[in-house]
Symmetry: C2
Subunit: 405 residues, 2 copies
């Protein structure tokens, strides 16, 4: 338990902090008070039954799940609540889309195509499939993270079962023109299924699954300040997917076991809050985002923006590389000042390599190691942004002053 002792020392080292600004919505986040309030009754007052059992607490659970399905299906303009399948989280939804989608449609061929900048919950299952004999092609992107359409066209063949490309990139905020990419794929092979991980788009930018033309889309609750352990996979009517786990089936045909009713109700409320005045909130987020980007690039030397600017970038995403700064060290320096961010550094990610996304857009190792990812929430105010802009140069300055390079 040595790690635990170090962790306790690190927590203690924080002492009095002037202000806390949480910017790590990529990896989790605090649940909104309204969401907790919506969940609480379902923990012990109502709907605490199993929705497949014929008694009052079971029927209440069933009702809650159906109402949430209908509301969430509406936000993405699905044709019916039956196209929405709750799963534990985005990781599970992405795994079913790839593994279960491939298994149910393997008569169509033996290839899966993803982009080089997909999240680990797509990249790693794809690598597992490759070990099991599936042909996995990773399509490159340009230096802003946009998928190269001619490379995509080359990658898709008569044997391609699934293409998976995220709607908004989780690290650098690139908003892919998914509708165009779906057309490229379907024109080449109309049987190929198109999946998009929309976890970083849902509740931040509006989208319509029918207009995009996707067959499957992953949604996630914790990225919009809903509870953990709940997400969903949209599956267009008629698309066949195999389960990857087995067990007792309730309301969810794709995932066995007891439904997480409080989580589903919380996801529903977090979605409702996110979609309220979505356009206005996105405009405000973009203002803060651009304020952070402009001031950091101007005031701190040797900094590089990762990902595109303007309307082609997610409104909440700021990703900047600080040269001569190790990312993990910077997250710690910032934490001690109450600012919580993540980094594409290999150390932070406990992987052998720094962010594969940053390497794919052409960043060098040292640039990727010094990257910091900040994701804004609509609850952030001007003072939060000013505080980040105050402490960031201090933290970077301190690290550079002790850097050997």
């Amino acid at each position: 338990m040595n790690v635990l002792m170090n962790v306790r020392e690190l927590i203690k080292a924080h002492g009095d902090i002037e202000r806390e600004v949480y910017l790590d919505f990529e990896n989790s986040g605090p649940v909104l008070p309204e969401v907790i309030e919506a969940m609480l009754p379902y923990l012990r007052e109502r709907g605490y039954g199993n929705p497949t059992i014929t008694h009052k607490p079971g029927w209440e659970a069933y009702e809650a799940i159906m109402e949430a399905s209908e509301e969430i299906a509406g936000y993405i303009k699905a044709s019916s609540f039956e196209e929405l399948h709750f799963t534990h989280s985005d990781t599970e939804a992405n795994n079913i889309a790839l593994l279960g989608g491939f298994s149910a449609n393997r008569k169509l061929g033996r290839r899966v195509v993803i982009s080089k900048i997909e999240p680990l919950s797509i990249l790693f299952p794809a690598q597992m499939m490759r070990k099991n004999g599936v042909e996995v092609v990773e399509v490159p992107v340009n230096n802003e993270g946009f998928v190269l359409e001619n490379e995509l066209l080359k990658a898709v063949d008569d044997e391609t079962v699934i293409v998976s490309i995220g709607l908004v990139n989780h690290e650098i905020g690139t908003i892919q023109p998914i509708k165009e990419l779906v057309e490229v794929v379907k024109e080449r092979n109309p049987c190929t299924l198109f999946h998009t991980d929309a976890s970083d788009a849902y509740g931040r930018i509006p989208f319509d699954v029918r207009e995009l033309g996707v067959d499957m889309a992953t949604l996630c609750s914790y990225k919009i300040q809903g509870p953990r352990d709940i997400g969903a996979l949209y599956v267009r009517e008629g698309v066949k997917i195999d389960r990857i786990l087995e067990g007792p089936l309730g309301t969810e045909s794709l995932w066995p076991g007891l439904e997480n009713v409080p989580g589903i109700v919380g996801f529903q409320m977090a979605s409702r809050l996110a979609f309220e005045n979505l356009h206005e909130k996105a405009r405000r987020l973009k203002g803060f985002r651009d304020m952070l980007i402009t001031e950091i690039l101007e005031k701190i030397p040797e900094t590089i923006l990762n990902g595109p600017r303007g309307d082609r970038r997610a409104p909440d995403n700021v990703n900047i590389s600080f040269l001569r700064c190790e990312g993990e060290a910077l997250t710690i320096e910032l934490s001690l000042r109450g600012v919580y961010v993540s980094s594409g550094s290999a150390c932070t990610r406990r992987l052998l390599q720094p962010s594969h996304v940053l390497l794919a857009i052409g960043r060098k190792y040292e640039e990727a190691h010094g990257s910091v990812l900040m994701k804004l929430s609509s609850k952030h105010g001007f003072e939060d942004i000013q505080y980040v802009l105050k402490v960031l140069p201090q933290a970077v300055g301190r690290l550079r002053s002790i850097s050997p390079f």
Copy 2:
């Protein structure tokens, strides 16, 4: 949404109820107030970070997970907290034990042995494995649900990779002599891994994984009034298991994705409450259990107890068949009187057949269809038991009066 309309009518039909007695802890249940109180701070005040990220809310999450692992590992006498792996629930733990356990050890052979009375989260993954070419043998049980040792000995061969037999049967409460069964298996084939689904034992009867000699054991939170969406798989040090899903890895090497910190903290508190005065609570539960069994069998004609009596039966389990009564109808009749139970009827379970457990112990179809499962909690009091004994004859009487048989 016709089903939803019917469900709403059914909920409305309940009106004023004299007393509510929830007895369906087999399938879910209300979370204890102390558990909710323990979870609440982790939703938005502390530990709301991702435990792999180097900032305060992440370190707090890491600390919470490690402390919970250590405490829960202690309750089952594991050698180390590292042997405990959190999973979403018992369904996921059972799936990894079978699918991941087989995959990592497939060089040992091609057979899996289970009993005929395992839960669906064991039976269905085993059937999926059978479709994929694994030899699955189901060992029969006697009329009280005890595994036939000579049949088990015959089933285990040189090629048997895993044996999975539950410690306490989820439906009829049979407490298997697991230590003896492990000895039978290991004597025949020392390489065979022994898994036990201990979800129905954990927090109800004491057990020691080292003394039992099992290699893997499934634990579950919702069955002890903890939150849903959390469970654990104990894996003895040195036993190899493959992941069945892929994605970013945090503190849990067997399951990728963001850890459910509030759920883990809730599971820890539910465990603490369950293990407090465990022996005294078990004695009290047995009193209530035997009061229910004796009075029902005496006062209601044409009733049969399913499962053993006395110390060989789980202290919380009551399972009785009411002849000339359809189980689903009985759960509804009882619900309208505030008593919430489940049934082994095929209708309730939305399966083609009634409970495979009841059929395996020799019950006829009509006996299985009319079965009712009640699981007691240490929060139940004498008045609750008296209320059940008052309304049960009314409900059975009404159904029998309109029965065509």
